[in-house]
Structures are given as structure tokens and as C-alpha cells.
Symmetry: C2
Subunit: 98 residues, 2 copies
DNA sequence: ATACGATGTATCGTATGGCGTAGTAGGAGG
DNA sequence: CCTCCTACTACGCCATACGATACATCGTAT
């Protein structure tokens, strides 16, 4: 059903902090996770997330185009984080027993 | 460089527990994460992970074809889990402040 | 004996996603 | 005025995800 990949999750993560425009999302994701999103990846993800109602475009004052996360986007992010959290805990416990 | 998607991570997670064959991986991933991997996804991932040296095929005694994780696979899994761990912590802290 | 459900692997097709490249353009500073 | 940072758009290749499909084997109950 709701299919979006890792870049989409990182965008939702960044917007969960507050509305941002594309370039600021890139900088935030890089700072928070060390992952560098290129323009193709970033704007492709933004388009898909808008189509799915997980984020919404805000009126652009200047040449920047800000986006905000929606309630559905927060729910999707929370669900994905819960799954990853289980994976991380299971994985780290399994890797620990060498 | 070494790029593999979420199914690949789940396979590595499953094999970090010990060698398993395909069907057993599906069952383990379902139990541990709630994610159901179809045959296409599973065997496609297995092929790619073998090509990248992250897992290795073991000699098959019966009709089962077991795989084991390699040292490189453990390292790749650990790296991915570390990134996800950061994302989960950042995200949950951001979602918490409503 | 046999039918059936569970186990187990493999392949094909394809829509989508990931991501690099290149191009456009405003603003700031030397 | 030239160049570097910011900021977005457009394009396109290729890998990936994943459903559909097929087929072999085992255990078990009837």
C-alpha cells in the first residue's frame, strides 16, 4: 500500500522538526544522519510524498518552496520508526553474541 | 558504494542469528519485524547479497539451500543499524515534542 | 493409495524508485 | 561583472522491489 523508501523517511524525519524547503531538508538530513541526498533523490521523494498526502506544499514567499508534514505523514513516520527500532534492537542483540 | 535496500538488511538481520535457508529467513523476518517477504523479493535479495560478498551459499544437504552471513555482511549490517538507530532516536525525540 | 496443505526454491515481468547530471536563476561578496 | 553559494527543475538510466507464477517434496489424514 503505502510504499516509500529510505529517502522518504529521511524527508519526513526532517520535516517532523518543522516546515522546511528542499535545500534546508538536504542540509538537515546531512547533519542529522550523515546521508547526502542529491537533487534527484530529494525532489523525487518530495513529489511522491505530496501525492500520498504525507507532506503538503506551503505557499512560497520567494523562490523557496517550503513543505510541512501532515498528520498522516507523522503517523507513517512513527510506524516506520517503530519497525526500524525493532530491527535495530534485534540486530544489535544478535550481533553482540559472537 | 555498497547500496542495498531494506529487504537486504532484513535478510542480513535474519542470518546474523545463524545460517538459514530461504524459507526459514522469510519466517524469521516475519516473526521478528512483521514484514512479509515474497519469493521475488527474497531470492532477488539473496542473489544480490551473494554477489556483493555479504552472505555466502552453503552446500545444500537436501533440497534446502542455506546461506550464512560473512564478516563483510556483519559489518554492513552493523553500519546500517547504526544509521537507523540515529534516525530512530532523532525521529522519536522530534515526534515527542508536539 | 491419495489428496491436500505446508515446505521450499526459482524465474519472469514490470512499475517504481534511487540518484546522478545538467541546466536555470537569484543573491551576496570581492 | 564575475564567481560562488543558494535553490529548484527536468531528464533519464538502471537497479530494485515485488507480485504472479510455476514446480518439487514432505507429512499427514482420510
Amino acid at each position: 500500500m503505502a510504499r516509500f523508501g529510505e529517502p522518504g523517511v529521511l524527508v519526513l524525519l526532517s520535516l517532523s522538526d518543522g516546515a522546511k524547503h528542499g535545500y534546508a531538508i538536504t542540509a538537515d538530513v546531512l547533519e542529522q544522519t550523515g546521508v547526502r541526498l542529491g537533487p534527484g533523490t530529494l525532489y523525487g521523494s518530495l513529489t511522491k510524498l505530496v501525492e500520498r498526502g504525507l507532506i503538503a506544499a506551503l505557499p512560497s514567499d520567494d523562490r523557496r518552496r517550503p513543505y510541512e508534514i501532515t498528520a498522516a505523514g507523522r503517523a507513517a513516520l512513527a510506524a516506520q520508526l517503530a519497525t526500524w527500532s525493532r530491527v535495530v534492537q534485534t540486530g544489535q542483540s544478535r550481533l553482540a553474541q559472537a
